[in-house]
Symmetry: C3
Subunit: 432 residues, 3 copies
Amino acid sequence: MNITGLKKSIVPEEVGHEMYSLIAELYPICRSITGDGYRQTMGILQRHVPLVVHEVPTGTKVFDWVVPKEWNIRDAYVKNSKGEKVIDFQKSNLHILNYSTPVHRTFSLKDLKEHLFTLPDRPDWIPYKTSYYKENWGFCLSHNVLIHLEEGDYEVVIDSTLKDGSLSYGELYLQGESTEEILISCHACHPSLANDNLSGLSLATYLAKRIGSVPHRYSYRFVFIPGTIGAITWLAMNEEKTSKIKHGLVLSGIGDRGNVSYKKSRRDMAEIDLVACHVLQHSGAAYEISDFSPYGYDERQYCSPGFNLPVGRLSRTPYGRYPEYHTSADDLGFVRPESLGDSFDKVLAILSILENNRTYINLSPKCEPQLGKRGLYSSIGEDELAMLWVLNFSDGSHSLLDITERSGLEFNSLQGAAHVLSEHGLITERLK
Amino acid sequence: MNITGLKKSIVPEEVGHEMYSLIAELYPICRSITGDGYRQTMGILQRHVPLVVHEVPTGTKVFDWVVPKEWNIRDAYVKNSKGEKVIDFQKSNLHILNYSTPVHRTFSLKDLKEHLFTLPDRPDWIPYKTSYYKENWGFCLSHNVLIHLEEGDYEVVIDSTLKDGSLSYGELYLQGESTEEILISCHACHPSLANDNLSGLSLATYLAKRIGSVPHRYSYRFVFIPGTIGAITWLAMNEEKTSKIKHGLVLSGIGDRGNVSYKKSRRDMAEIDLVACHVLQHSGAAYEISDFSPYGYDERQYCSPGFNLPVGRLSRTPYGRYPEYHTSADDLGFVRPESLGDSFDKVLAILSILENNRTYINLSPKCEPQLGKRGLYSSIGEDELAMLWVLNFSDGSHSLLDITERSGLEFNSLQGAAHVLSEHGLITERLK
Amino acid sequence: MNITGLKKSIVPEEVGHEMYSLIAELYPICRSITGDGYRQTMGILQRHVPLVVHEVPTGTKVFDWVVPKEWNIRDAYVKNSKGEKVIDFQKSNLHILNYSTPVHRTFSLKDLKEHLFTLPDRPDWIPYKTSYYKENWGFCLSHNVLIHLEEGDYEVVIDSTLKDGSLSYGELYLQGESTEEILISCHACHPSLANDNLSGLSLATYLAKRIGSVPHRYSYRFVFIPGTIGAITWLAMNEEKTSKIKHGLVLSGIGDRGNVSYKKSRRDMAEIDLVACHVLQHSGAAYEISDFSPYGYDERQYCSPGFNLPVGRLSRTPYGRYPEYHTSADDLGFVRPESLGDSFDKVLAILSILENNRTYINLSPKCEPQLGKRGLYSSIGEDELAMLWVLNFSDGSHSLLDITERSGLEFNSLQGAAHVLSEHGLITERLK
């Protein structure tokens, strides 16, 4: 069994349910770009796949950036003058402005309000906000709670620490036949947000788990990193490895009920771009393809001009196009096992083509070889057409995907034809 | 008179009637990929054009193939128990499975039926079937006859031979000013089928006849070959000549009432492709252009990747898209003199542009030359525009056809302008 | 203040009115490709801008052409037998066939008519006709006047001279930071025709006047030349200077009420083509873009294959597409201050982008630089997006205009972002 077989053998919705369970388990943890919540998350993933957790010390220079101090938090609340907790981190870790410095002081409502963040347009939802690179503290809450806060003094407690430590990230390398790599990247720094980023985290984990169980041509490198600073740190620490990356996918926001969308790499016509577009165009479902732009998730870093890696991004509804994005409404009800399973299936479809998209050389290029004497000619059916296409275009400059696009036949047919022709010594894979 | 003059001088329908007569003469002969029917056909063509008939012995290795044994047939029939011939080769040579081995035996109806081929969907038509590379015997008949065959014994006689001999093909070379060649190829291996392949055979013959009567720039090579094995044999025996082939056309199925269709060469943008598309696009009649695909007629061999010759195919309704294809309904009523004449006219239109599609160098490239002092400037009319276009784009990288496409003017106008400018020493043909 | 500032500071309609006044002042003068009317015109322009007037002697060889004799005219009329002037040059200089040789003779109506030109379809208009290179004489008049001429003798007087002299043209060079040049060319040889060519003349003059008042990156060369022979003469006398021309515009017919139209240079994708198309596409007004063709105005010469300069043409309604073209109806009522001002504004828009369309190198190309620590990151707004686009695509092969097209952002935003990033040392301009 290979990855193509894997794709055929899985039942997307079943995998979707497994992925959903992992999301549910990870959901309550308060993650940030550093700290114990991140480590705890990696620990749970390690029960599924043997990922290695790397620690990069505070102060490490990573290109134009510096690894920040480590943040940890135990508790945080705001009590009114009656001693009632009107905001309580224990109820939702979104209540705390992520990376808030420690505080224990009493404020008037007016002064307190300068540190409170709400969404007046969505008065029931708690926003998700961070202040990683500017020391600050604050609380996020629903607007409906804010407007009912009465005048008076409020005790503010933030039991957090911000001090030298390290940035953690998880990495898993699955050795394939070739040392050429496919990079799968997801960010794992968000607290209780289900679609962004637990869906990507869960998909990457199950993908690693399944791919680890079958032989494969490419080596696969999975990175579970904090957004932005994590990608920058990984690239800075692993710059020499990037030349091995032949294809890559950033996975994020792949659990909502929207259509699958693919954002091309900066190269625009990299093989991953051609393959992902092919899969979506032939999926039978609605989809969206967008050109590269230099904002979004960690493709920003992989596709910075100094790297320009062939890394695209697979999502469902693109971030910022659903109102639940970066709010408490991106919860366990917002992601669906069916969507997770479908995303998983499409990633496998992409990988299956990448694994098999070889370029061949016709060893009998002058006129057609006589298929009949080899028992390969029955009557003209799709199989024989596929053989003729592969023979004619296997001149070393057309991959099977190129021939698929040109012929209008199925990739699987051409791959099957190539297999048969190769076994009969009529074509051979092009050496690079 | 040159080929352009030839095109102007012919009356397509008159040529169409001549072509039709030749088709009618050739129609009754039982041809196959080898044998005396083939030689007899070449003999008739030799009354029109001085083609040379080559014989390639059985067993000759031609790339991945071997020249097969020679097949000849004198008679074949099936008699019922009353001694009546229920299937009779003398009535139609399509009745015999082409390349049937000799038989003289009695069969029950049940056993006989394993060797009978019909078209249940077209119960009045006899199918055309062959078994060149797998020894077998059989009869083709209309389904209506089959279903009325009664139980009983049937005497089967096939008076054929299949033994060492040779494969024949005809070739005609018309020397032009240049040793660069235009290849015209048609297959001549089908028995009583009028459109496929007698129409192509007849068109090629009349083309050779007419072109042979005028001076021409290119040399022309006409090959009258058995399908597939003939093209492969010709390429194997003449590999060193192929580098001279600058343009080529496979002619087949050009006598039915459908629109003219052109199938591009594998190069997709070869000059023959550009010219043929230009002619069809400006013909004023409906047409069809299709991309190269590695099945069809002998363009499969010419466009195999080891040759990749600039050879397209001109047909009317593409094979397999008319129900009469490879049946007794592809008869003398299926081809029409008007269609044959129109196809002839379009081939001449293509050749006329190829002959004249030169690339020039403006000898006065800085600013416009003063046309007025040479008497070339009247008022702005198409002639002067054509001169300005030719002057401006004759930088050595635009052919007259390129300039035609860019300007929207007629090729003839630009050719005329180039002629005048050349005579006035303002442009000169680019040496290769 | 630079050219961008200039564009912002002008009120198009005000400039349009100034341009209109200059047109009105120049309108009555009888210009031709040589002679005192041309010199008088240059003299009026010199009151606005310090252009240098060059004189090239009759007989000078300029590529395939020769500078013609100089033509001057004082008076011309046709008197009927009653001594009434039925055609009078003093009423309109269009009445004289431009370059008419001197005549003083009496003709019968029949003989006279061979020298009379009218527009039967536009019976009230006087056509504009010339005979520069074939000695002749004649009068142009309205068809309504022609048909009322009675039989009888007519005295014809043409008080002109055609003798050795010189061809005059005006030239103005505005030195910029760079020695690379932008060429602005207009023809100035037409007599009382307002749109063709006084509108172009006036626009070029006001452009020179305004650009001369601000610093600019490119050097600007304005040429005020007689059509065709003037462009050829200028190119012949200044061939060595043409390598400095990086962009150019021919301005003609830019005062009518039609939409702005741009005709591409022969290079098709020269920077001037991309910029002009961008400006028109984003102008919010209807426009027309056409491919290069080798007829029209002096772009014919600049874009002849031996020069192939990146020179496009800006017009409003293309010549020959309005019936007033080359007739007395192309008068002061045919051009409008609003149109003139709008054309002026669009030329400045084009020049503003050309001036600022630099290509940068990201000095921190591996991952994104940390904008926040430099105070450049607020929240995601257009400014930050523009910075990300400039950073990501500043790899030395994308100009700001390229990034504009790809991002869909405004050129001004990207130019502003580039300015800020450059000041922070994050990007640097690419040296050529």
